[in-house]
């Protein structure tokens, strides 16, 4: 009992304890804020990617694509764990803008074109939620309001508009009548140029009907057009009809990996039934991947940054261990008399260690509580603070006119907080261990004699 009392009194009566508490509080604050923001960025990024892909993808890396997709889509519709599936055409195009309809875009660009059926694609992905004007009616997304008979297109918001310094796009209330000529190189099912000798490009002009904002780099890169048009432009609608990918969404109760495994089995069974069919080899080239596997390269970048940041925090942890070590060494040298007194009344070495370890635990609890509270309050107001700093000092955490990321993520993750608190306690105990051990080994007679001097 006296251990608790003494440890608690050391905490409140020694000014140096406040230094240790401040060090712990500051570290918990910094780690909590940075981890929350970084985790938020990472989770948002993963969320955007997940939303743009669906749960599972069957895709071919070749621009030739694969066929028999209608049959497999029917097969997928029969599966109880599949909520929706949508065929997708992917290709690259040269886009010429000659009549911008008042937009500031002009010239020739290379973009990735995505041919979709907007309704089924919206069921699989977050496409309809990204739209500027047709969120409630994705079936109307390729019909320009100014002439619904014209073929519409949906460019990324980053391609059409610039952002202001606070990150807001200067969009208009409705789509302006801009025309985009899309030029593709069509390929046959064998991979040959479909229009060799007849002008190698296939071209069609599309009209700006809507734009999308997914929240990451695809806002600059992608250009959505109707499925059938994309199929024709890329040559996949000529002869043996093909697509680039099938995006699949599972029912909410389906586990991602289990669902993907079932799709793999289903796909393998399907291509086995087609072993004698023409262009069977294209089916073999297609692979089934979960959204995580499919976007591994992009996610890995963010995760690498996170790992690096954790390494940096481990360095901060070392500094805290050193501060706690120094503080405890000082406290224990000041408390040598107490150690002598306690030993003279029969306190064991272990009990002496316990007193100082409890003291370290109290420092960690006090410091963590203050750091967590301060971190939480700071995170709640982080965007307001950043705006205020920007308005007064022209400083931004990242340039909103360039980055696709808007507000600073500030949702605290309970698991991360728990890990931070456990690490804080561990670091304090580690810093206190050696001085406590040294104190326990002190000879009672020596400490009392020193205290007399």
């Amino acid at each position: 009992m006296y251990k608790f009392i003494l440890a608690a009194r050391y905490l409140f009566k020694r000014r140096i304890s406040y230094l240790a508490i401040s060090a712990v509080a500051l570290s918990v604050f910094v780690v909590l804020v940075v981890i929350t923001v970084l985790n938020g960025i990472s989770e948002n990024f993963k969320g955007y990617i997940h939303q743009s892909i669906g749960d599972c993808v069957i895709h071919s890396k070749s621009l030739v694509g694969f066929g028999y997709y209608d049959e497999f889509l029917e097969e997928l519709e029969r599966q109880p764990y599949v909520a929706a599936a949508s065929p997708v055409i992917k290709n690259y195009a040269l886009i010429s803008v000659r009549d911008s309809g008042g937009l500031s875009v002009y010239g020739d660009f290379t973009k990735e074109i995505i041919g979709i059926e907007p309704v089924s694609y919206s069921r699989v992905t977050g496409f309809s939620e990204w739209l500027g004007y047709n969120r409630e009616n994705p079936q109307m997304v390729f019909r320009p309001w100014y002439d619904p008979n014209l073929p519409g297109c949906v460019p990324g918001i980053g391609f059409l508009f610039t952002r202001d310094k606070m990150g807001a796009y200067n969009t208009a209330d409705s789509a302006s009548p801009a025309a985009f000529e899309i030029n593709c190189i069509p390929l046959t099912a064998r991979g040959a140029l479909a229009r060799a000798g007849a002008g190698e490009f296939s071209s069609k002009t599309f009209y700006y009907s809507d734009h999308f904002q997914a929240g990451y780099s695809i806002d600059w890169r992608l250009f959505y057009i109707p499925f059938e048009d994309a199929q024709l432009l890329s040559g996949m609608g000529i002869g043996h009809k093909r697509i680039s990918a099938i995006h699949i969404k599972f029912t909410p109760q389906t586990d991602l990996q289990a669902g993907c495994d079932k799709i793999k089995t289903l796909w393998n069974d399907f291509i086995n039934t087609k072993s004698d069919a023409p262009y069977f080899n294209l089916l073999e080239r297609a692979s089934v991947q979960s959204w995580k596997e499919y976007s591994r390269m992009m996610v890995a970048l963010v995760e690498t940054q996170q790992t690096l940041m954790i390494f940096c925090f481990a360095m901060i942890g070392l500094i805290i261990v050193s501060i706690i070590f120094v503080v405890f060494d000082m406290i224990i040298s000041h408390k040598s008399k107490d150690i002598g007194i306690l030993k003279s009344i029969g306190t064991s070495n272990f009990s002496v260690i316990s007193i100082f370890m409890l003291f370290a635990l109290f420092i960690s609890i006090a410091g963590s509580a203050i750091g967590t509270l301060a971190g939480w309050r700071f995170l709640v107001h982080i965007n307001e603070i950043e705006r205020w700093v920007f308005e007064n000092f022209e400083f931004q955490l990242w340039d909103r006119s360039i980055s696709s990321m808007g507000d600073i993520p500030n949702t605290m993750n309970f698991n991360s907080l728990l890990i931070i608190l456990i690490c804080s306690a561990g670091v304090c105990m580690l810093g206190a261990l050696l001085p406590s051990f040294k104190a326990s080994r002190a000879k009672c007679v020596d400490t009392l004699q020193v205290a007399q001097l």
Partner: protein, 234 residues
Amino acid sequence: MSKNITLLQTKDVHKSYKLGQAKINVLKGVDLEVKQGEFVAIIGASGSGKSTLLHILGALDKPDKGSVKFDGKDFNKASSAKLNHIRNKNVGFVFQFYHLLDELNVLENALVPKMAGTSVFGWFACRNRAIQRAKELLSQFGLEDRMKHKPYQLSGGERQRVAIARALMNEPKMLLADEPTGNLDSQTGNGILTVLERLNQAGQTIIMVTHDERIARMAQRTIKLADGVITETN
């Protein structure tokens, strides 16, 4: 309490310290016997080894050679846990500089030996009785109004009385006092000696170290230590 039962016995106790390259022999074969209920004063000049002897008698230090038997138990053969137990339950120390814990108040200082000797759960079982005893002891020494005070708020004499109350908390068989009046004026010192005398009259075994022969005369027996050996016993 019978005065014929031997409580403490030392045989040929030697102790030396290293001071740089030099080895200083502080105790050079001390033989001593203290009966239960005795009040023994160990006197000697500064550096004669009397404090070292007291530390060895209280199991705070170990002799290089020789044996110390307390209540039939040989300190040399006891584990450190056993020695801790002996120090907690059977020996009470009173130091010249009081050595109170600055962070605790008077009552808590008196309670520390009881708390140190019990587990957390054990403490809650005996808490009320322990507090009652501590309050009785402190009241006995005229500190009933000082229980919530911190050591720095007390006079030297009051601090020493708190130290005596702490030493008596676990009803030890032996009270060891190292120059208990050495840091006090004569009037306050006399007050402390009266307390010790009264305790001895109540049957408490006391061994007191002092360099003052006048104070030593208050004890029933005086042992004179010079150059690490007992030169005279009265």
